[in-house]
Symmetry: D2
Subunit: 343 residues, 4 copies
């Protein structure tokens, strides 16, 4: 069985991997689709991010879907042949946060394809993976594997939306229209926003944002004053989904948030210098959002019922044997949004 | 100028009315569409409801739209020829609730076609009405007058949805699918509910609810156990929009609400006997909702942008001269949902 | 080892009980104080309440504290000689509500001295009880056993307060000043209420409420118009803690709640007929509250730090051998608030 | 009539001022006490802050109280001889924020002693001031003028507490124990916090914080690792009141906030560099808080009822003729917390 293994920055290899033995509550899934995420790209380009660094070879990937190939003796809800989206989170169920129902803050989380722990938790860009039964979420027959592999980033954005409170009738700004920003547009539309403006520094992702429901798109590199019409009365947006991780983007957006407006911060990156006096005077709220919990099942259900359509994001699929090419493509925002590997 | 005047139960007359003189901040609107609401029907059938009784002849109607015919000398935002939805609320802007931004709880509210005050505030089923400039909300060119006249009941349901908190991913039950229940389905869909079940005792409104986005409809008269599939695990709905005003409907729905579930009570009626021990043990919340405030402008904007489509509700239009016939039709849930008068 | 065993209405016996064998995670506590709760009185007077009926003899009691006498082999946090308050809740930790952090809604809860399950879960009015380690909460050296046994009802009221949102600066009404109503006064004071009015139909509990921090007390039997000064402007209380379970008390209180006011319903009893039109028009919220979760530890901590003083409630202590006498005393609101048994 | 007039940095003069003529809704107050605030000190030391600069001589002061000396012809609620706290805010009552009940975000606010507008709004450090009737809040006979002049900063902290949600049972950290930080301790205690830790870089304000209810005080200059005991499990504080305006203080505090913890940012100052990745991963929320609205009346009521005691802060009073000396004293955190002028 082969996998996509990162050995260090710019060193991605297709290698033979030995499958883990199947425990009684385990499920083996033959992976069919795997999406490349921003954190995968960080490992590929930089060998990690912040204090999280690669210390051993690791299979990448945590946006995956496939078909159940085998199940352990105690597995009850999942059976052979089922088509499933794979939830990459495996919380400990015992720490104070798990007991309080905040599993995504688990003190001993095992998250696929992450170097936060050592030994690292191996990722899902493999021909087969072994997971706990609870991680396998059956999908509707109408859903493709490519859509199912979007369950993870969609869950991230649903969780983000929950930080904002109700979006019904809200005026929403999205800064940064990569896969996460684009899905933030989708979720803002789902939640009943009356207006969605989106900014980026490249036209390609903005054209996608428009297709997904943005009522206005602004190339902030070409039109630095593009948010000016929203600045009157101290600002007019209720909610900002900040998906760029860029200080200038966040600072510019704060100017056009109304008093009491909410920033949901999705984008990661370096420390940012923030205008505390404006945050105080306008009583802005900056709220971090991290991964997801039961939003994973919700994401799969919403797609299965046709209430959310992520297909416009699925423009590029590359055989996993050409993973390096796929990672390079995924790194070029002018050409691609979400790139998936096919297994 | 003629209007539809109620003199007492079952005594509706088309009569000549003298227009009010136009004040400096007033606007005269030539009415083109007017929807019949449940409270209009209460005046028609019973001469009032609860402690609110007709004490003098009164023009009915508070769901109206038309074209501006004349404006007072100080009017700035509205001009002759504008097509507008008319907000029937005129709060005092001076009482403690107005100052706190809760205008719909105004201690001195003037609401069109309501006998709460004496002399009564005359309603909008007239060929022309004079209103304050702030009550005239311009509509998009794409909107019909009939849609514009739906701004008021849609605003009621948007306000109701705000009592529930975020509906994103929620499992929603609607009991009673008259115009308000049907619009609650619309708003639940707008707000991103993942499941919407609707009950009524008549098939016609349920078929409309299905068209508007209900994922399941139940004729609770024919299938009294129809909610049983939702009863497991103490109940599974997150939110109930109770639009029937019927005790049995509410009690049945409480059984299938999950612990911590929220009832948004829209339906009016007699006192209801409620199972306090279940409310306590399941920590249910019953939340009243009354009229609307700035949701009126939002309703008009949502329709104007095509984000909400109320056209499926608009099945019956009757010339205002045949108002009595229209009121009888509107009273028959098996034949009509929203009936509008044309002027 | 002896316990206080209910065999049926008015049939309370002191009987020999065989201790359960100590499991590896179990703790044996020598009970020293046990408070009589309203539900204990229901079993004593009526053999149960609602659909919950005694089907076998059962030790009563779930407000208990004592000293650890023995610990199982795997017990890590608790040791012999520790003085502990006993949390009577033992949730399953596996159902959907436990996993979501809502343990008090557990689908398979074991709650001491409750006939909801069959076989019944035996209560804590025994010379010794065996509990899970997690149920034993160490108390501060400054706390008496009598105070520790108040941890449970105090936790109920802290949980109730959380349903209300922030009480800082709130105007609070408490209806019914038995032990729970009295503790609601304590918690409202703790939470920073600016005004606390309390009603009852007996003077004795009202005098206690005044000592505990009520700014005004009203004997509603003698002065049925006593809430009139709070009725202006549609009503002026922000929050009602309804601890009487009495329909007239609740209906009277709804009149003096401000628009948007919140009822936290603690009192149990028969179904109540409620004025739906007022609930709708004033947008009142009725919120059930049930038992507690981690508020138990908080209650013990607050008393241990001297931030809450429940000692004024502790007026009556009776040796457990005279349990019937104690239960009769606890049933007479004119003479006693909280009655505890000494072991 | 004389006032304390700032002409520029370090140029404070006692000068004769001409009283404004009394309008029909105006009230003239003979000022007796006036507290020096951090913003007064900014004008004194730097001639302004951020983009707000002195452009003309201005009376300082917005924490004032005194006795009504004369009232205009239409004044109804206030009469001659009344002792009042003066609310320094005069919102326009017409802009979108005033209409929505968010008066403190008024687009045309007149706030005493502020150079934000030009001509500047003159402050209250004068022997007499003329204010709108609505700004005069009568005080209890038990309250001193010095306490009444604390109404404004107490209102700031009550408003801040509302940004945090309920504090009942919360673990609270306060960074910076000047007057605002000290009052944040008072408010956290009022709101029922179970634990209050306070940090500063000077011992004097910490000793005051301890007197006001802090359960632990840490001189973070002498003991930079003093917050270490709170860092386990990703951090343990629920709420931070950041009152220092210091980047290092905020960054250090973020380390010991639990996941989902809330920062209420009170302190002003320069832009701060913040660790976005930690804010995201721990889902922290940074919430600005600005001035107050109806919390001013609440502050006066809480002091009048003896529910809040600010007297420990009132250590220094200086005759207004020696204002420069008072401002120097107020600038030395090692010697003084709140310094008031006597008139």
């Amino acid at each position: 069985m082969r996998g996509v293994i990162i050995h260090g920055a710019k060193d991605l290899r297709i290698e033979e991997v030995t499958p883990r033995q199947l425990g009684p509550r385990d499920v083996r899934v033959r992976i069919e689709a795997g999406g490349i995420c921003g954190s995968d790209l960080h490992y590929y380009h930089h060998g990690g991010f912040g204090t999280v660094r690669l210390k051993q070879p690791m299979a990448l990937g945590h946006e995956i879907a496939g078909t159940v190939e085998a199940v352990g003796s105690d597995v009850a809800q999942v059976s052979r042949g089922m088509r499933v989206a794979v939830n990459p989170s495996q919380p400990c169920q015992a720490c104070r946060y798990c007991r309080a129902g905040q599993h995504h803050q688990c003190l001993d989380m095992r998250f696929m394809g992450s170097a936060m722990r050592y030994p690292h938790v191996q990722g899902g860009f493999r021909e087969t993976v072994e997971i706990d039964e609870a991680q396998a979420v059956p999908i509707a027959p109408t859903m493709s594997m490519a859509e199912a592999a979007m369950g993870e980033p969609l869950a991230v954005c649903l969780h983000a939306a929950r930080q904002a409170g109700s979006l019904l009738g809200a005026r929403v700004l999205v800064t940064g229209c990569g896969p996460i920003g684009a899905l933030a547009v989708v979720v803002a539309r789902l939640g009943g926003a009356v207006e969605i403006a989106a900014t980026d520094i490249s036209d390609y992702p903005l054209s996608l944002a428009a297709r997904l429901g943005a009522s206005r798109t602004i190339n902030i590199a070409e039109d630095p004053q593009g948010l000016e019409p929203y600045a009157h009365d101290k600002g007019t947006f209720d909610v900002l989904f900040e998906a760029s991780g860029n200080e200038a983007a966040l600072r510019g957006a704060l100017e056009v948030l109304r008093p009491g407006g909410i920033v949901v911060q999705l984008g990661l990156g370096r420390d940012m210098s923030l205008p505390i006096n404006m945050i105080v005077a306008k009583e802005l709220q900056i709220r971090g959002t991290f991964r997801f919990d039961e939003e994973f099942r919700l994401a799969v259900e919403l797609m299965g019922k046709g209430l959310v359509d992520v297909k416009p994001l699925l423009t590029e699929t590359v055989p996993f044997e050409r993973a390096t090419e796929a990672f390079e493509l995924a790194s070029d925002r002018g050409r691609a949004i979400k790139v998936q590997l096919a297994f």
